[in-house]
Symmetry: C2
């Protein structure tokens, strides 16, 4: 049984607590948060506290606060015997200077409104001490089927990839919704296409799956499309993405 | 019973023939294609021909060839009584000049390798004659649960939106795969994130779902990320997408 204290009351903290609290291999001892209103929602999972001085002794302390607050919270835990891990994609392990430190990085985008099946979420782990890596591996494997070693350097680069396939993809959805809205067409019309585009790359590589005017260098359609894009930034995005697709495609010829 | 002749042997033609051939409300009379090798694969669906002169009399002729060849095929059908429709997103209905003309536009991305459930695919229809619109509606409704009127003008704009959420999204997946490849991390690690990003916008609007460094104007993370992106076009895409996300976000404040 691995004892865990979670620090943070955001979306990731919420989903982690949910997964840990129903897990027989983990004992979620406590949840810490500064915001007492947010903390109320965590009472169903474990004891809660808004004071770092009253934290219980635990095998692992999982810091799931905003990147900017991680160092401060970790510093408050510097005399603890337990393993202190952060959960950030963009920060190196050594951004916390605790003796026993590590990273526990679930590669997913969390919203309170969405239920998550943690078993499918890859968790990248890193620890300063080899024994702590085994501990983290066990903790990860208790909730996920996909726990893997991930150095700080690789994690940060993987986080960049995640920004492209998650944040930027979502922004393209926003642009799609914006165009639909202008045409008084419900955005739902695009849902099947969006899902198929996401699912197709499980069977084909994205390079193989690429279609559209830019991939066949169909200048006429692209020129016509640009006339219809009235937002200047969207126009630039159309041009740049087409240029990049075209370049990838030409390389293959 | 609506009789149909399909012209074309590409992915869309293949999926349409598959859907029509098993449908009790439709009789797929014939498939036309110039490429006799490709045409072989259609023999399981209906009679095939590689001569436009031997086309059967039919209620509807569905042209599913490349945009550039549509006009030529339509012209060969100009004396036919039946309704001649094209299936292109980017071309107006009047790009074919048949007396009885229309458009039958399934809003999906088709690959031969992927099975498609046509019932979930929205089909936008347009016809020159009101009676033909009823015919097209019935044809669409025989294979899809979502048939809707779509004028040429709106269709072309919707096609632009589709390019953003399909072609451009897929290219962002390519960039993600490229970064993973450089790090010797399997791209499959990103699959759950990709699926969740696509599924989330069924519950939240893309604007509500937006997360990441650009949406919170986290300059430090963005600066660090840019150092890790070594492909010049990918770097430009990172900057432009971040600028566009940031601008949408600022508007809301």
């Amino acid at each position: 049984m691995i004892t865990v204290v979670v620090l943070g009351t955001g979306n990731l903290a919420h989903h982690l607590c949910q997964a840990f609290s129903i897990n027989v291999k983990v004992k979620l001892l406590q949840v810490y948060g500064r915001n007492t209103t947010a903390l109320k929602n965590f009472e169903k999972f474990a004891e809660t506290t808004n004071s770092l001085d009253t934290l219980k002794k635990s095998d692992v302390y999982v810091i799931a606060v905003n990147d900017g607050a991680i160092n401060k919270v970790a510093t408050a835990l510097k005399d603890r015997e337990g393993l202190v891990v952060h959960t950030a994609g963009a920060l190196p392990m050594d951004s916390i200077n605790n003796k026993n430190r590590g990273v526990f990085y679930p590669l997913q985008s969390f919203s309170k409104e969405r239920k998550i099946d943690f078993s499918t979420i890859p968790i990248g782990i890193e620890a300063f001490h080899p024994n702590d890596k085994i501990l983290l591996h066990n903790l990860g494997a208790s909730i996920s089927n996909k726990v893997f070693d991930l150095s700080s350097d690789k994690r940060i680069k993987l986080h960049v990839a995640a920004v492209f396939v998650n944040n930027f993809v979502n922004h393209l959805y926003s642009i799609g919704a914006y165009i639909c809205n202008q045409q008084e067409i419900p955005f739902e019309i695009l849902h099947p296409l969006i899902r198929e585009t996401a699912d197709k790359i499980r069977i084909l590589s994205p390079e193989e799956a690429q279609t559209g005017p830019a991939s066949r260098n169909d200048m006429e359609t692209m020129k016509q499309h640009l006339e219809y894009v009235n937002n200047p930034l969207h126009k630039k995005i159309y041009q740049l993405m087409s240029e990049s697709i075209n370049q990838s495609y030409e390389k293959k010829l």
